[in-house]
């Protein structure tokens, strides 16, 4: 879905003036602003498509019964996570295709916006950044990064090369059955661990981090922004999302100079 809009002899960019100046000094020639969009709809079943990780045993040792609530369980909402991960991957691919079509080597200053534009059942991912050509670069896969200018220079000086923007997420689900009731505050003393709540929080964060590791494939992930959101009810959802910059080491890091402590007089 590349839609190049480059006018002959002109470029457009989302770079700030300092970033633009630094990129030129590094031999990065801006080609144009490139974007990747994805708008979608979440399946009405996405909240119910869960992969169960743990079935909690009945707290009272019962195996069923007319008046007995079902035991609780812990899992991940695979439908929701697949929808958002696919939305991001598709938007990122479209951004990359647009940049490649313009003959760029990379995209700098990538910004990511994700929202529900119309209602809770819709997904929108919008990525945009500035495609750049690199003087003297050979063939290789297109890279994307959220940074530009002097920050990119520092990254390279530290021995890294950018790879891509990374997004990972996990929505953990905990259904409260009798197990939760048993572990409720009136069945055990003060200060007792409330394991199902701990489990759902730990599962969301650890699975999202595992996904990030998996996507990194041996590269390093910096600038990780990790956000978690809990919706509590008879079914508790904890969503953990990770956005970061994937980089790979191409040279050993040299010991840097001892930092100089300063007092700013700018205010």
């Amino acid at each position: 879905m590349a839609t190049g809009t480059e006018a002959a002899g002109a470029f457009d960019s989302g770079l700030t003036t300092p970033d633009f100046a630094a990129c030129l000094s590094m031999g990065l020639q801006p080609v144009g602003l490139v974007q990747g969009f994805f708008c979608g709809q979440l399946s009405s079943w996405s909240n119910y498509q869960a992969a169960v990780v743990t079935n909690y045993p009945c707290a009272f040792g019962w195996r069923g019964g007319q008046d007995h609530p079902p035991p609780g369980w812990l899992g991940t909402a695979t439908g929701l996570d697949d929808a958002w991960s696919t939305a991001f991957a598709t938007a990122h691919q479209r951004l990359a295709e647009e940049a490649t079509a313009r003959g760029a080597h990379g995209v700098v200053g990538v910004r990511v916006e994700m929202s529900h534009p119309t209602n809770d059942r819709s997904t929108e991912v919008h990525l945009f950044g500035t495609a750049v050509r690199l003087a003297g670069a050979g063939a290789g896969p297109l890279w994307t990064t959220r940074i530009a200018g002097h920050k990119l220079a520092k990254l390279v000086e530290a021995g890294y090369a950018p790879v891509s923007v990374l997004y990972a997420r996990c929505t953990a689900v905990m259904y409260e059955g009798c197990y939760m009731e048993h572990w409720g505050p009136n069945m055990v003393g003060a200060g007792s661990p409330l394991e199902p709540i701990q489990d759902v929080h730990n599962l969301a964060r650890s699975r999202a981090l595992q996904q990030a590791w998996h996507q990194a494939g041996g590269a390093s992930l910096y600038d990780v922004e990790l956000g978690a959101h809990e919706v509590e009810g008879s079914t508790t959802y904890v969503t953990c999302q990770i956005l970061g910059s994937l980089v790979r080491r191409v040279r050993p890091t040299l010991p840097l100079a001892a930092p100089v402590t300063t007092v700013g007089l700018g205010d």
Partner: protein, 296 residues
């Protein structure tokens, strides 16, 4: 290297190198050379910015992985009913949840061979029936020099935890101090009722509610005693960057809570050394970020 008491110690710190100007053209050529090249070394995840990573590298540390821990403890029904004195169930729920989370985070850091965890973000959630504590930070490991030797001068018996930023960590370590552990203390105290006569008599007066003022002082004293005890237990000699919450509990307005937490630190060098400060006048304007709304 340890101080014989099981605590961490330090030796010489920095190999002084001359500051050099960045050659952006040369850096650009390095980037062009690396285009398409294969990556080397072991990967990591880090919630630190690149600036923070470079700062930590200057003191011999590098990020290993983002680590997280959660603990949730119960508070029985009826604990918040207006009474007198402390809400002991809530005090205990906090201390247990804080301790459990701290231990989980340290165990996770130890599992991956980290020296410690920096920039720990601590989230405290109190609700009528539970206390939830979530900690998330970046585990760091010692960086090696060209001979494979550790460049970090301190040997901790177990990974340290701190909620200091990388910048604060570097400033602290240059002064000879090092973080030891996260510490916390909390206290929940019922404010005593005013007598009916006093309440009616003061309806048309601007008066201090001494019952709430005194309760806040009482809650603070208890919480600070607990955090002081925690500092001593982890082997620290001081507390930095203490955060605290001193407000009535939202769902039980007659209960005043005082929750404090921060990083316990200890002087590991022979003496404290004050860093020399250079004054700078920044000439760069505030960065204006590009927003998609400008496309409208």
């Amino acid at each position: 290297m340890t101080d014989g008491t099981g605590g961490p110690t330090t030796g010489g710190i920095f190999a002084d190198r001359a500051h050099r100007e960045a050659d952006l053209g040369q850096i650009g050529r390095l980037l062009a050379e690396s285009h398409g090249a294969r990556g080397t070394g072991q990967g990591c995840t880090s919630s630190l910015s690149l600036d923070e990573v470079l700062l930590l590298h200057a003191v011999g540390l590098e990020p290993a992985a983002v680590v997280t821990a959660t603990a949730c403890t119960t508070i029985p029904t009826g604990s918040w009913t207006w009474s007198q004195g402390q809400v002991q169930a809530a005090d205990y729920a906090f201390s247990r949840a804080f301790l459990m989370t701290r231990n989980q985070l340290r165990a996770e850091a130890a599992r991956i061979g980290a020296v410690g965890v920096v920039a720990v973000d601590i989230e405290l959630q109190l609700s009528p029936h539970r206390y939830l504590v979530v900690m998330l930070g970046t585990a760091v490991r010692a960086a090696s020099d060209e001979h494979g030797q550790s460049r970090f001068p301190v040997r901790y018996p177990t990974p340290f935890l701190c909620d200091l930023s990388a910048r604060d960590f570097v400033v602290l370590s240059r002064a000879g101090w090092y973080p030891i552990d996260l510490v916390g203390g909390a206290s929940f105290v019922h404010a005593p009722r005013r007598g009916m006569g006093a309440a009616i008599g003061q309806v048309r007066q601007n008066v201090e509610l001494t019952n709430f003022t005194e309760t806040l002082y009482a809650a603070r004293e208890l919480a600070m005693e607990r955090i002081q005890q925690d500092i001593r237990e982890v082997g620290g000699t001081g507390l930095l960057d203490m955060r605290f919450v001193d407000r009535p509990v939202p769902f039980a307005g007659h209960v005043v809570r005082f929750t404090a937490y921060g990083t316990a630190v200890k002087l590991l060098a022979d003496t404290h050394s004050h860093p020399e400060l250079e004054m700078v006048v920044p000439l760069d304007d505030r960065t204006v970020r590009f927003e998609a709304s400008s496309l409208d």
